[in-house]
């Protein structure tokens, strides 16, 4: 058994898993506060990455300024999507809400293919020369470490926001019960818009980070699909669960690749393995590790 390879893959899995966790968090944030399942999360990510890349390469802005502008853009984008597309569907059956985000997802896919092209492009080196650091005999790219670091910062910010700020409290209250929140003077509409704005913003950050690590292309949107196994494992309405689920799926993917490459040789196992796990989890523990079980009353 090739321990070194396994270890290397697991470290990759952890780092990629943290990014999945960040995207899963955005997904859960929207689901928890607005009861909308966002099938376009992956496209949000790609949009953030493309906008930032376009600002750096075509407009020639310095990276940090471009990054800042793309974040502002994503925030506005999230608000526009919520108000124009999702607001008319409040109170509609769940299938309509799911379908509208799916429609948004294929619309955005085609539009981004058209505007930004089908090819992968890479960011000019942002963190100086791309180098490696050696940790415990392993070579880890600095970009990977930076992404790990950023994921932790985002998670910390989420924690702080929900725990200690007024808006975070308002959002938790709205997620808990919209009517009660409204009667306490919280504007539910604003909270919904804010949830989408934050989610789009953070997805944009994740997109830029992934773009720096592995190049920007429309195939990054796959992350939007990988998020489903992650959130199901963690529990659909748990932010902590999203992070844990993301890390589990990241590790699992790389572990599946290891098993596949070393023993089974079936090829392509790592893309399907999360979905088998998803079905399994749904069968034995449909509310995931940290999700709350709904109790229905007639």
């Amino acid at each position: 058994m090739n321990t070194e390879l396994l270890f290397q893959l697991l470290v990759n899995g952890l780092i990629v898993g943290m990014l999945y966790g960040v995207v899963a968090m955005c997904f859960v944030l929207i689901y928890k506060s607005t009861q909308v399942v966002n099938f376009a999360q992956g496209e949000f990510l790609v949009l953030g990455a493309w906008v930032c890349l376009a600002l750096v390469v075509d407009a020639g802005l310095p990276f940090f300024l471009a990054f800042l502008f793309s974040l502002v853009f994503m925030t506005l984008f999230g608000i526009v999507v919520q108000t124009v597309i999702l607001r008319p569907l409040i109170g509609e059956p769940i299938i309509s809400v799911i379908m509208v985000t799916i429609g948004l997802s294929i619309f955005m896919q085609a539009l981004m293919n058209w505007i930004f092209g089908n090819n992968a492009e890479s960011f000019p080196p942002v963190f100086g020369e791309v180098g490696f650091v050696t940790i415990g005999g392993l070579n880890v790219e600095i970009a990977y470490l930076m992404s790990l670091f950023l994921s932790l910062i985002i998670m910390g910010a989420f924690f702080y926001f929900f725990k200690y700020t007024r808006h975070g409290l308002a959002m938790r209250a709205t997620a808990f019960n919209q009517q009660v929140a409204a009667s306490l003077g919280i504007s539910v509409k604003q909270t919904f818009a804010m949830a989408w704005a934050i989610s789009a913003l953070v997805s944009g950050v994740a997109g830029v980070v992934m773009g720096i690590v592995s190049g920007v292309s429309n195939s990054l949107a796959v992350v939007g699909i990988k998020v489903f196994p992650a959130v199901i494992v963690g529990g659909l309405d748990s932010i902590v669960g999203a992070v844990v689920g993301g890390v589990i799926i990241g590790l699992l993917e790389n572990f599946a690749e290891f098993i596949d490459g070393q023993y089974l040789q079936v090829g392509n196992l790592y893309t399907v393995a999360p979905f088998y796990v998803l079905i399994l989890i749904l069968m034995i523990k449909p509310y995931g590790l940290f999700g709350t079980k709904d109790i229905e009353r007639i």
Binding site: P93, G103, L282
Partner: protein
Amino acid sequence: MGHVPNPRPSGDFRSTYADDNSLFPTRPAFYAMVAMVIAAIVIAPFLSEQLLFILISIGIYGIAALGLNVLVGVTGQISLGHSAFFGFGAFSSAYLSTNTGIPVLIAMPLAGLMTTAVGLIFGLPAARIKGLYLAIATLASQFILEDFFARAEWFTGGVYGSLADRPSLFGFILNTDLRYFYLVLFWTVVSYVAVSNLLRSRDGRALVAVRDHYLSAEIMGVNLTKYRVLSFGISSFFAGLGGALYAHYLEYVSVEGFTIILSISFLAMIIIGGLGSVAGSILGAAFIMVLPLVMETVASWAADIFPAMDAGKAYIKQMSIGAAIILFLIFEPEGLIHRWRLMRASWKLFPFST
């Protein structure tokens, strides 16, 4: 869901149970149906190749959409994996007709039955979950089946795909589009009548009850697990049948044809046509088939003015489907069939209608 499956204008009373249970709501509706089928049979030989192609596609996708509508529109279960079942039917029929010597015409419904079996397997876990979780589970089944198609070379030919012969009837080969059109028309009519018939039976009403309020349905004695799994089976059957027709029409089946985009298109068809409506499924299929052609023409006109549009044609087609889904959900969530009903009601009440 907030919508009535079959609204009737005031004053249209049914005085017997037989009336209420009839396959077609009125005699004229029945005659109109027969007239449309006869018209299709008579007109078909005079149509151009391209029109026939469009009609055949509408038939094939319409059958599959009909199946999906039983699952989504009637039972209220969401499936994002319908194209995988469609693909399974296509590969089954190709496999049966090439490897076992079963005549193609028999292999097609058999492929439908094989797909039913697979649908039941995936339906079993689905019986326990609903709504969002089900959507995600069927999304997983889409990826798992797609992966299976790429891997199971004995069954699908792997990445090379497999060949499917055109069917023949007593030595008469259905090798032209016109002849194939009649076959598709036959199956479309059979499926249409079968689903309409299902909806007026006890089983059909039980499915509607499961959609409208599953707890009440259970209390009324509807076996939830049975009906949820059953609706998966029924929907897979029509997906498989549609897939089989698709395979033998193209005479070649490849793995790339059955992606999530097709699943989304099926959902788009039933949403645009009208959830829970039999005629709506076919209308929606027609809309989704014709929309890209219309957009193509529009884009060509636009390209004369702005040459930059030319490169975007393929993208405009996909964008138009996405936009159609969003716009229909916001402005006409009950679909085209609802528009049609409004128009009909307005003719009926003519001088007094608004």
